[in-house]
């Protein structure tokens, strides 16, 4: 090995150490935000009391507040953050467009439309059947994704990333318009439900929702992580990806499906939280660079931190009322995004 190669090896080791430190750092921030979030809320419980309750020594009231109200909500916000961030990271990867996110592609809108149809025909009360909701959202998102895919598919050429984005924006606009028409026809309870859902309030704050969401993530996240090399190669552009032996169209379809399923299952329990799918991948990419093997886990952690912090703020900022988490994410995310735009050449 030459002197230069040794130097390069040393540098590469340094990068690995740095990236590992960043992932651990992000995990620590996530745990901190978990602890702070557990302590925050309408009823004041001191950190010590929280700890005591967590380890099984709490009073009945403390148990109720922490285990039945706060904990499921925190868990959901973290899971949703992970799911949406990964979904956005995949879409940005396969479309080669840093501004793509599941919301932009109409996937959230499609899922939302389905939820509205459901509420319209079966009434706002029956949304208690938590476990059907992810399926419904998935159906809506899936149909939307298929429409977008079919419209941007050209025989012999497959999917051009730019066409995918433009079609996505158009379809999203169409669905939003249709949704507005439907919303007008809702009665008051239905309308309230839909409005809250659309604003992205993590309304399903009980364990059932965690259970409804968890299997999807347990299935999809490992699958996506396994595909990190394929995502890397797709990021080089279609022609290079072909040259390297990736089945470009097939892989893109699979990854798009995984991304849609991730977004849809999250959106089903959290409502339309946009911006996470856009910003978390950006943040993660700035932290660890474009290689998906490290980018995806970092992205998942960033997303979880973002949504759980936003949710914590959303719960306390206008007490005793609260603002929807989706809006809080946007309030945090928009300035950062403007900053990014300002910095880019």
């Amino acid at each position: 090995m030459t002197e230069m190669q040794k130097k390069n090896e040393a540098y590469k080791k340094k990068i690995v150490v740095r990236n590992t430190a960043i992932v651990i750092g992000a995990a620590v921030v996530l745990i901190l935000s978990f602890i702070i979030s557990m302590n925050t809320g309408y009823t004041k419980i001191t950190p010590l009391d929280t700890l005591r309750t967590l380890f099984g020594g709490g009073t009945e009231k403390e148990n109720l507040i922490l285990f039945d109200f706060r904990l499921p909500r925190i868990v959901i916000s973290m899971l949703v953050g992970m799911g949406l961030a990964l979904s956005g990271c995949i879409i940005q990867g396969i479309s080669k467009n840093a501004l793509a996110d599941p919301g932009l592609l109409g996937i959230n809108a499609g899922a939302g439309m389905m939820v509205i149809l459901y509420v319209m025909f079966l009434g706002a009360q029956s949304f208690l059947s938590v476990f059907t909701l992810p399926f419904l959202a998935l159906a809506g998102a899936g149909v939307t994704a298929i429409i977008i895919y079919a419209l941007s598919y050209k025989k012999g050429e497959g999917i051009a990333p730019m066409r995918l984005i433009l079609t996505g924006i158009a379809v999203q606009a169409g669905i939003s318009a249709l949704t507005t028409v439907l919303v007008v026809k809702l009665d008051e309870t239905q309308y309230n439900f839909v409005a809250t859902w659309q604003a992205g309030s993590i309304w399903g704050s009980n364990w059932k929702f965690v259970l409804a969401l968890l299997p999807w993530l347990l299935l999809l996240i490992p699958y996506v992580l396994m595909k990190s090399r394929v995502l890397d190669v797709l990021n080089l552009g279609d022609d290079v990806a072909y040259s390297l032996g990736a089945s470009v169209e097939k892989e893109r379809r699979r990854l798009l499906a995984a991304s849609v399923a991730l977004a849809a299952s999250c959106v089903a329990v959290s409502g339309s939280i946009s911006f996470v799918g856009l910003i978390a991948p950006h943040l993660a990419r700035r932290l660890v660079g474009p290689k998906h093997a490290i980018l995806l886990p970092t992205c998942a952690l960033t997303g979880a931190v973002l949504v759980s912090v936003a949710d914590t703020i959303a719960r306390v900022i206008v007490q005793p009322s609260e603002i929807p988490t989706g809006i809080m994410v946007a309030i945090i995310g928009a300035p950062y995004f403007l900053y990014l735009l300002g910095k880019s050449k």
Binding site: Q5, D232, D239, S243, L244
Partner: protein
């Protein structure tokens, strides 16, 4: 022996026929350059040969095998194709990009084995990029960047490399640098190289074999001396070219040319995507 051959190849964009009934042979172990006017189907042919475009009709043979019968991964182990001005994701380092060349040889999570690392180091050395291994590709000059992509193709360890205008947007010195690199790969490693080139003189200077294409048809193929003639260039480019043998390289060179006005519209009648 032919490394690549096409038979009755027809390629179309939607219903627009760009290439029809093309029979082409690429000799093994040689440098072949494809020349022709803009939009004449050069890149299209290269993409079809590299199985990026699906032909409408006909066959592409890779070392005698019908390319459609090989999996895309198998093809990637035998042939690398570099498109025109590829883009690297922001922040990716030279070493990371070159490592992607190992993709067709990896499985599962694809941790680089010692053998892979050796090949990557070798590719970096041959392209004189060892010093830049940890530099981000965005921070390189155009010529260095093109060398990085060639290094990636080298890491793929194929006997055959196709390149679509590898010298586009490069300064004169960088153009030569890239072509010299490809030349030495051919002479020292025995790589078969096929490239589309815009610059006729560079094409003639580095080629063992040239193919002149117009409207998806081969006008002439053969040695540079056979292809770089006033007649062939007249038919291919509709120019009146003055060809001399250049003293320093001993290759035919076009020193001056004029347009042939009456010939320019001829192409409209061919009905293809010229």
């Amino acid at each position: 022996m032919n490394s690549i051959a096409t038979e009755n190849l027809a390629i179309a964009y939607e219903d627009h026929l760009v290439v029809d009934d093309l029979d082409m042979q690429i000799p093994q172990g040689k440098i072949t350059t494809i020349i022709g006017p803009n939009g004449c189907g050069k890149s299209t042919v290269l993409k079809a040969v590299g199985r990026i475009l699906k032909p409408k009709n006909g066959m592409v043979y890779l070392n005698g095998d019908d390319i459609t019968h090989l999996s895309t991964k198998e093809v990637a182990q035998k042939m690398a194709i570099l498109p025109q001005s590829p883009q690297a994701p922001a922040g990716l380092t030279v070493g990371e990009l070159v490592a992607y060349g190992r993709f067709p040889h990896q499985r599962g999570f694809g941790k680089l084995k010692p053998e892979d690392k050796k090949i990557i180091q070798w590719s970096l050395e041959v392209t004189k990029l060892t010093e830049l291994e940890t530099t981000a590709v965005d921070n390189l000059s155009g010529g260095q960047r093109q060398r990085v992509w060639i290094a990636m193709a080298l890491a793929q360890q194929t006997d055959l490399i196709l390149l679509d205008e590898p010298t586009t947007y490069l300064d004169l010195a960088y153009q030569l640098e890239v072509l010299e690199l490809l030349y030495s790969l051919n002479r020292e490693q025995g790589c078969t190289i096929v490239m589309v080139l815009h610059d006729l003189n560079l094409a003639a200077r580095f080629a063992d074999y040239m193919i002149a294409i117009r409207c998806g048809d081969i006008i002439k193929h053969g040695t540079p001396e056979e292809v770089m003639t006033t007649d062939v260039l007249k038919e291919t480019f509709h120019i009146d070219a003055e060809i001399v043998t250049e003293r320093r390289t001993g290759r035919p060179t076009c020193i001056s040319y004029d347009l042939i006005p009456q010939a320019v519209d001829e192409c409209d009648s061919c009905g293809r995507a010229c």
